[in-house]
Symmetry: C2
Subunit: 307 residues, 2 copies
DNA sequence: GTCACATTTTGTCCAGGACAATGATCATGA
DNA sequence: TCATGATCATTGTCCTGGACAAAATGTGAC
């Protein structure tokens, strides 16, 4: 049955950049410094990475995301790297958590996952669904990813199904005309959408009037949209993968670009606990905190109520 | 009121790559060959692009996407470029089409757009909504983008709202257990999701059992997911931006990777009319054609009905 | 008009050097 | 013992300038 050939013999450097997330520059400088990867060359002298090296690069990338240093692991064999993944300190504790929905993701049971999510939504209502089902599940997925238990397609499947359920629910809450008017998006380097959807779900459930621009909005465009759209608040979401340092810089830059009458709310792992370093910005410490922040805003005296 | 400074003085080359979609290599080689852009330099000799040059680069990028050649337009002033955009042959004809929903997008009326979409969905049902409302609207948005009438945030807003409505509707059609089982996704270089959602909507409305992995699934992962998940069909979606040549190569490569028992369906502008160059692959010529293709599959004799 | 062929244009890749930001290490003081 | 700061090593990104193949364009024969 396995007569059909599976992969092309080798990938060029651009394809490897796509597949591994390692930049072309990084791939070349690793080759120079560490002696890995050492790709073949085509007739023109261009690099051609065999699938085995790409596979190893993917493992290395994962370990680096976990905090390992390239020099320490780049010499290891594929087997040693596999052993290293899922051998983090908190691995055993986390592996114990046995959420059924996580099993559906592992086993590619998209339909069952969707059904379970929908059932949870019906039982809990939108707000508790986001806070008590999606948020913990998100975390569990992140940890399973770290442990190497799930891969790209599982994560995609998960994101798709959660999106279907959350977006369907968000759609049923119209809430136009209410206040505050919140513009939601992420910065150009942040492509994770689930945090944004969870925030939107929580906010619309509380009667805020949300408009989401999705992910990756360029800063100048964000400014224009916020000012022209007469928004009260701009909400930004950051995943754990976003460098905290850059999040702070970007937020302060946005703060300088927007008039003081527009509040900025920032949520997600990357900004958690950074309130003191973010003057003029309200850090949302967790989904539950969203409601408190919303209450704050509504309680605060405002200049433009008649605007 | 405009006392706050709007932009940082200049962007580094990585930020310009993000904002314009032009690779670092391209930016450097243009500077060498055409004398534009000519960025400032920081203390370390690194390029710093002023906002004005980035703006011009964005215009150039748009014109290139419309088919212009860099050498022909790179010398023009920002004003001349602006005049060039929206001066394409079919511009006048297209500008005449005056869909109300397109107005909502132009004016950032997210709530109104969502309401109009939802109303259309209720009136038409999922299938006709996809074919008769979303598809033409998509095309109109694409043309408005070409003409420079809408920009990144408008396009984001549109995509978000359509996603909310389509995903909500898709979610209500469970259809697990029915055949065929269709695995939907896009290739790693295709990030447009609306085509995929429209296909999914049409298929679930016809009782197919769809599972979407979202966009950008690596080929090896796609193969594993299709085989392990016991799917009958793998469906791929291509936007107009996808190079037709690459679409054909990628599809044939996927065909070689998958067992013959799994059908491949491909849809979208990039593959339209390419059926004869894609043996073993069923090209879907339009949303309406989807239903015909589904009927074909169901009518065809199969070896594995008892699988 | 349409096909084949020559020529120009254009994006991507290469090598190898440099540097700043980040992380690790270690000494110092509370 | 633990925090704080200085020093050193690591690492990703940017640089220059050269090369080449794929795509687009132009040219001529039919």
């Amino acid at each position: 049955m396995e007569t059909h050939h599976t992969f092309p013999a080798a990938l060029n450097i651009a394809a490897v950049e796509r597949d591994t997330g390692l930049s072309k520059d990084t791939l070349r400088v690793w080759e120079r410094r560490y002696g890995f990867p050492v790709p073949e060359r085509d007739a023109n002298g261009d690099r051609l990475y065999p699938a085995s090296q790409v596979e190893k690069l993917r493992l290395i990338r994962r370990l680096i995301d976990q905090g390992k240093r390239p020099a320490k692991i780049i010499g290891a064999s594929t087997e040693e790297l596999l052993a290293l993944i899922g051998d983090t300190p908190d691995s055993r504790a986390a592996a114990a958590t046995d959420i059924p929905m996580l099993q559906y993701v592992r086993l590619h049971r998209g339909a069952e996952l969707a059904a379970a999510l929908r059932q949870a939504l019906l039982r809990q209502g939108l707000q508790r669904f986001a806070a008590e089902t999606v948020a913990p599940l998100n975390e569990a997925i992140g940890e399973a990813w770290m442990r190497g238990e799930i891969d790209v397609p599982e994560e995609h499947l998960y994101t798709e199904q959660v999106q279907n359920v959350l977006r369907g629910a968000i759609g049923t809450h119209v809430g136009s005309g209410t206040r505050p008017r919140v513009l939601l998006t992420t910065f150009p380097d942040e492509e994770h959408v689930l945090g944004l959807l969870m925030a939107e779900a929580t906010l619309v459930a509380e009667g805020a009037c949300c408009l989401s621009l999705g992910t990756r909005t360029p800063l100048p465009d964000l400014r224009t949209a916020a000012v022209d759209g007469n928004f009260d608040v701009v909400g930004l979401s950051f995943s754990a993968a976003y460098p905290a340092r850059q999040a702070i810089d970007d937020l302060l830059q946005l703060r300088a670009m927007l008039p003081a009458s527009i509040a900025i709310w920032a949520g997600g792992s990357a900004v958690q606990g950074k309130q003191k370093r973010l003057p003029g910005i309200r850090v949302i410490e967790g989904l539950e905190d969203t409601i408190a922040v919303l209450g704050e805003w509504r309680a605060a005296p405002r200049h433009d109520l008649n605007a």
